[in-house]
Amino acid sequence: MSTGTPTRAIGPATPRPPRSAARGSGLGWVLAMALGAVLLEVAVMPYVNVADGIPDLIAPMVVVVALLRGSLVGAVTGFGAGLLVELTSPVGTMGVLALLYLVIGAWCGRYCEREESTTLAAPLVLSVAAALVVQLGFLVFQLLLGNQMPASEFVAELLLPTLALTALLSPPVLLVGRRLLGAPRVIEPYTVGP
């Protein structure tokens, strides 16, 4: 006798929690993501260039960590990843990228646990904006050091290709981050619960 409503013949009686939900704070995954992103950025990305632009994988990594774990974890991750890049790549600075990624992590963390953090569009836009902030910040720093580059060269050869490549390569980073870290949750001292 059919009631007209579909019934499930097999399957669990209660819905399983999503597989992507990380147990605990997921800080181990944050560390693994930061190390993986730095390794890829330093060893692979310099060869994936269009004109003089190189994709920025650190920016989406910091953005997704900040969106899913809050300002404090985002800022510390940005600081650590930036410093690690400056230690392992012959970039000629120390503390500059660390500061820029720290600011990005602290800023993007404000959107944690808000509606935007669960979408894909907002992190993607934030990743490109973060890459833009890093490029402009680095430009200002180089100008302060006395290094120069024609504005047209900077925009056409460096900035636009970097942003385009970052936009192309950000979605996989964001998806991996969401898969590993699960639902957005602010992690800070005095945080209660698992």
Binding site: V42, A43, P46, S71, V91, G92, L99, E188
Partner: protein, 307 residues
């Protein structure tokens, strides 16, 4: 009661978060201020060298692991220009065939004149790169920023590399200058390319009268040569080589005669006393996987590197 406790915890959390972030900002400011104020032997540069030594083996493995993907990307991106390059290269081959015959005759005459003048010993030294020993090195990483055109290679002080060792790469025309070693650790070295904004090279154009000039980076991948007087007979396609003279009161760390690039344009206004010479390097160092470091061995070469 519970509400005030929650508010108190929230306030403490916010305060702690701000304190940590502010502390990290101060650390960043302190680090980059210290980094640019200290000498190249300072503790922060030392930490960078130590980190380079530690991660160099990891980077080497990662670089080799992703080499096929890099090659595939390079092949795909190079495909676009392949047809144009083939046509251009065919024209060049025709021109070079004629030059090769001419050069063979000149070589023969030069050998006879050298024997007459007794300068064989000097030229032998030149053939041995004037007291330098070439050490081949794998490029393990490059700068992630175009502001710093540099790379890290997998040889260091344990292979005899010292700061200011010249770095060359093979081209169809022979070895050409790529850059100079700026930082050395035991197992890795940093190379600043000649197209890096911080690098200046004392150079000359033999076909234009061998006037001493200074090469510096202007735009990504291009060099400008200054100090060439108006009367110099500079023309496009003339070769630019390193000079042996001092630059800004400092001795040049480069041995003389290493090819650097070709003159691509020459300009001079009526009021200028110098010519504006644009030079394209023979080698785009960013595309290379291997470089050769010229390790100074002779006393003269070591003194040149020591500055």
């Amino acid at each position: 009661m519970a509400s005030s406790a929650t508010t108190g915890i929230a306030r403490r959390r916010a305060t702690l978060r701000r304190v940590v972030i502010a502390a990290l900002v101060i650390v960043c400011l302190a680090v980059f201020t210290g980094y640019f104020r200290e000498s190249d032997d300072g503790p922060l540069h030392g930490a960078q060298s130590a980190a380079a030594s530690v991660v160099a083996p990891v980077q080497e493995v990662a670089t080799k692991a992703v080499e096929p993907f890099r090659d595939a990307w390079g092949w795909a991106s190079g495909l676009r220009d392949a047809r144009d390059r083939a046509a251009r290269l065919e024209e060049e081959v025709e021109a070079l065939r004629g030059l090769a015959v001419d050069n063979a005759v000149r070589d023969q005459r030069l050998a006879e004149l050298e024997r007459l003048l007794g300068v064989e010993a000097m030229l032998d030294a030149e053939r041995k790169l004037g007291g330098y020993e070439p050490v081949t090195a794998l490029v393990i990483t490059r700068s992630i920023s175009d502001w710093s055109r540099s790379a890290r290679i997998a040889v260091g002080s344990s292979s005899g590399v010292v700061r200011n060792s010249p770095v060359v790469a093979g081209t169809g025309r022979g070895a050409a200058l790529v850059g100079i070693v700026t930082n050395v650790s035991s197992g890795a070295s940093d190379v600043a390319f000649i197209t890096d904004g911080r690098t200046e090279v004392g150079a000359t154009i033999p076909e234009a009268g061998a006037y001493p000039g200074l090469l510096e980076s202007i735009t990504p991948g291009q060099l400008r040569m200054t100090g060439i007087p108006r009367e110099a007979n500079v023309k496009p396609n003339q070769a630019v080589v390193t000079g042996s003279f001092s630059v800004k009161g400092l001795p040049s760390p480069y041995p003389p005669g290493i090819p650097v690039g070709l003159v691509t344009s020459v300009g001079a206004k009526e009021v200028d006393v110098e010519r504006t010479v644009q030079v394209t390097p023979f080698v785009d160092a960013r595309t290379l996987s291997y470089l050769a470091v010229l390790v100074p061995r002779s006393r003269e070469a070591i003194a040149r590197a020591a500055g």
